[in-house]
Amino acid sequence: MDRTDTSPATTPFYAEQAGECRLFEHAFRQRLPVLLKGPTGCGKTRFVEHMAARLGRPLVTVSCHDDLTAADLVGRFLIGDGNTVWNDGPLARAVRTGAICYLDEVVEARKDTTVVLHPLADDRRVLPIERTGELLQATPEFMLVVSYNPGYQNLLKNLKPSTRQRFVALVFDYPRPEVEQRIIETEAGADAALSARLIKLATALRRLIDQDLEETVSTRLLVVAARLIVSGLPPLTACRAAIVDALTDDLDTASALDQVVQAVLSHDA
């Protein structure tokens, strides 16, 4: 569920879109929590990994799910050797060690988790551990980052305004074509011609959002498709597997999308 990267060997690649790195650095220095919003696969997680490496802080990532409770974040007693032992949760660990704690898809978590986030996210910066009676003061290097996807399906699961207003918000979208092209080239080792084709495909498919598709092709899907192509699969097969079938289950729509893919990715080139 949670993962701690203490010392990343290299800084993970991230192509900046609009000064978000600088904003993040300032927020870190001012000890402000950050909220990342954006569609799936647009690079939120990668951004946090990149920034953690750049700032030299360990990163604790928690992927939230609908059964995640406050105890899962803060910690709980475990039974050991005929006695009970307190065990810190990922959030408490991050607060103690001064790490960056990243709660991915925070709206998925149960409502009670927001209660423990509130005192941490405002100027108190404390984590009350109710079960041991401890009031944990965050170290200056601790930073809280949460993300969520304000997409169609999350309409009913919105962040409460009281939670949202404690965070500095950063809005993400799919990168500009030239940035996205650079990402595909770097991440998948694709050449300029292939990445340009894929960008063209992405532009076409993103026009279909709302009416024909619920979710559109993400940067992540493009990178996956590019990697498959670079490793030797024919482009059409790779796009069918990585993009078309990932976007829809409807056979009719899939075969129509396939026509769009064929129309964009020329097979004679």
């Binding site: 009913l156 074509p177 026009r207 709302d210 769009v260 129309a263 004679d268």
Partner: protein, 655 residues
Amino acid sequence: MEEWVGERWHRFIWRAADRSFAHAAVRLEEVQRAVQLLFRAGGGDPLVRVAPASAEKVGGPRSWLQKLAGQGERASIGTLDEQTLALPPVIAVFADAALNRDLYLWLAAQAACHVATPAGWLADNLAATRRALACFPGLRTRYARLLQAHLAQRPAPERLQGTPRELERAIQAALRASLDGVDAGRDTTPPAAREPCAPQDQGASLDGRARQPASVAPVWLWLQAMQTAVGPSATAPEADAADGAPPRPQQQPTPQDPKRRRAQRTEDTSSKHGLVMFFRAESILSWSEFVRVNRTADDEDNQDYSQVADDMQELALAPRKPGETLAARIKFDLDLPSAAADDLPVGEGEPLPEWDYQRGLLLPEHCRAQRLRHRAASPDAIDSEAAGAVPALEKRLKTTSRQVRRRFEALRAAPRWQHGLTQGEELDLDAWVRHQVDRRDVAHRHVEAPAVYARRARSERSLSSLMLADLSLSTDAYARPGARVIDLVRDSLFVFGNALDAVGDPFEMLGFSSVRRAVRIHELKRFGERWNDAARERVAAIKPGFYTRMGAAIRYGTQRLAARPERQRLLLILSDGKPNDLDHYEGRHGLEDTRHAVHAARQAGLVPFCVTIDQQANAYLPRLFGTQGFALVHRPEQLARALTQVYVRLTAAVR
């Protein structure tokens, strides 16, 4: 006998002269989805619908056999205007079915990149081709194949004479030039942002023509742009306000004719002075000219109008003269109810805004919503129809009602684990460990009932729903033999009301219809009211009338529902088709206004969902409600599934 011979001869000569490739024919329906997606992916307007085109007069040389058969005079050509992309219903131009299929896809791509400019038909098409090839490089090979096949079919200019020869030369040169000079994959700016590239060798007579010249053979690869489509009749004068006569109710299913026809607005100048007759022999009109036959005033009743419309080059729509309506000539079954017989108005009307997409602004206080209440039959009046309606409905819908109710109850009863209880069916290990720790603390040593149990319990729900039922006159049409749309709507309300009443969720039911900007909101059941016999009677008594101003109704529903304290709020719309009203509220304007209202409802935290009976709904509902925001229902039995589907989605989304 004469007829028999004639028919035989027609069939024989038609087959002998036919130069299309029937065995390789591809129908539009087969490729419709791909065409739509390709068109929109290429940047085409998402509100443009794809429809079959009607045949029109085309030129080009014809063989003697074709002349004998009267063939090759008319063909369907791809046409684009701001509302419709009309494509030939069948393409059998080439001997290879794959080529015919590719031609459809090519036309979609061409249409997506087509921008109508004053430069005219040829220049626009050439520019569109270049853009389409830049946008879809994968079509290049296929386009080259199509072009080759098409050029082989085109007449040699040497065999033509006069203007057609010049035109043919220019067209062929442009077609050949279309493949040159396209740098594959460089051009990524949207089509609207670019200037059209003018062709070098353009025939002077082709300048500025929006349409293909009638004397040349059709260019299958190109489109004609319609610059002035007959749109939502902005030019039509509004008939005077007192005229509220509803359209004729339809006793039969409406013949659906989605074909896109050419039309122009003209003045109806037909003279009423029948005895004064001018006739000059040399001015005999041909079909291609405007013939002053007022179709709606024609004597013959049993004419097949769609056949007539097919035969016409262009339909002329004349505005009605002030004071003259169809209602004046045809007797109507329904009329505006007198004030005494009309439903009781409740309270003051509420002003509602309307979205004008052309100007991109919300017109404040554009409509007025008036709440109405069904006038209950006085106890001594014997209204046998109304009296027996509720039990009859109850009986007929017993099974469906029970089914839906059971499903709703099952959803409601979905148990969840509750932790930290003093008693329960399982030990809560987490709580127990905590209790053990706490026990070491002196103060907590003697706990009478430690809260260490877990239990499965029903979770609380917080859901309110508002149903908006379309009561416009179009619901009087038959959805299928024996069941009018209004019956389906009534059944839906009934089943849903029973089910919601059983699970105890608060709900409101409203019917809506409109006459121009006056929106009639029929109160069937309010939030505070009980689902009792009076409410059921009101539901049973709903009857169709007037028009569908859907956007205003949704806005009204949004206001009502947004005031509710519940966490989940469902706005359910039951309708039979597109929004329309007497004024310009139709076509794109109506759709855009409804879409705006739906968005506003979503912004207010409501969940709008549409249950519809319209078979054509797939064409426009995704645009209004999103791909997951509507359900199509054909039979009452399907209601159970569609309605539960909404609930499942709602309850699954919120935990």
